[in-house]
């Protein structure tokens, strides 16, 4: 139980080197206060580990509980379509109290995106399928709330204060076989 399915691939939103020894995957919801609390912590461990960490974000909006979450996730995907996923991702977590559609379009403008296109794509539900695919993959992977973290493919149930999370990532990295030797032994 509780292994990441599917594995990280090119279709994921990735920050860091693809061949990093440790991968941290977060399933998150843009309106969830716990995810909001985790946001600067993830930034902190990214800063500490630099090129040794690959961070991946997948959508897991809890739409019944958080009425703006699925729209916000689509806005991030719309930004991704214009090459600015992480900019929108950060904006959303830094403005969790203002996630109405008008706020999302304002954000798109601020970030230098084609805001009309974002608006059209949200209206058409262009990215809804992608968001729901993420949710389905999360369910198959054992996501049990938000945020749920996976460290190198295994669900991490421990505390995620910066020091504990950092230590867990370092431990996973020490155990990892260098990626170059994993897939293609030379």
């Amino acid at each position: 139980m509780s292994h990441l399915t599917p594995r990280v691939s090119e279709s994921d939103h990735r920050a860091g080197p693809d061949d990093a020894r440790v991968t941290l995957v977060e399933y998150g919801d843009y309106e969830c206060p716990h995810c909001g609390r985790a946001y600067p912590i993830v930034h902190e461990v990214q800063r500490r580990m630099d090129r040794r960490l690959l961070f991946v974000f997948r959508n897991f909006p809890l739409s019944e509980m958080h009425p703006h979450a699925e729209r916000a996730a689509q806005a991030a995907e719309a930004a991704a379509a214009q090459g600015k996923f992480w900019e929108m991702h950060d904006w959303l977590y830094e403005h969790q109290a203002t996630l109405e559609d008008s706020d999302l379009f304002r954000a798109a403008k601020q970030l230098g995106l084609d805001a009309d296109r974002v608006e059209q794509e949200l209206a058409a539900g262009t990215h809804l399928n992608r968001v729901r695919q993420d949710v389905r993959s999360g369910l198959r992977s054992g996501v049990n709330g938000t945020p749920t973290f996976f460290i190198s493919g295994v669900r991490y149930d421990g505390p995620w204060d910066p020091d504990t999370l950092h230590q867990a990532l370092e431990t996973a990295g020490e155990r990892a076989v260098p990626p170059g030797t994993r897939e293609r032994p030379r």
Binding site: P33, M65, L139, R140, G142, V143, N144, G145, T146
Partner: protein
């Protein structure tokens, strides 16, 4: 973990009738013909975003793809369930294993007598009321939905593949 105490796969699920609202009852055997998910949980009103029932509420569409009926069970009374379901906007029945307290949980082997609550335990029943998968999670750990989805998938897999 108390592995071995919960009724295992291959056991006929004990029948029960429990109230779900002040004037409605659910009888397990009346749900024959479709898979049933029994989700025993310790108590209403656990923390918001990590809450197991809220998660199942979000994913009931996935359960519905298998035609499965989800039932939540705890020792809380019907009024407590009603307030909880309203607050969390839950769209599936919560059953009150309230009187005699924990009686159904006991029969499924998932009652924690010392604490007066049931385990965080999952049972997936097939259309004939047979337990096909069961799992007891540590009480503090929300088990998620992957085990349930795997079990439902196996139920719906073509028989010749077995």
């Amino acid at each position: 973990m108390r592995a071995g105490t919960a009724l295992p796969a291959g056991t006929a699920a004990p029948d029960f009738t429990l109230p779900t609202t002040p004037d409605q009852k659910v009888t397990l055997s009346e749900l024959r013909g479709r898979p049933v998910i029994l989700a025993f949980y310790p108590a209403d009103w656990s923390p918001v975003c990590g809450d197991q029932m809220a998660l199942y509420n979000e994913v009931r569409g996935e359960f519905a793809r298998f035609g499965a009926q989800l039932l939540g069970l705890s020792v809380d009374g019907v009024w407590c369930h009603a307030a909880f379901a309203l607050d969390r906007k839950l769209h599936f029945p919560l059953l009150a294993d309230f009187e005699p307290k924990g009686e159904v949980a006991r029969r499924y082997g998932v009652y924690r007598a010392a604490d007066g609550i049931c385990e965080r335990a999952l049972f997936v029943l097939d259309a004939d009321g047979m337990i096909r998968w069961s799992y007891v999670s540590p009480v503090g750990v929300n088990p998620g939905a992957d085990g349930i989805l795997d079990a439902l998938e196996k139920l719906s897999a073509p028989k010749e593949k077995r």
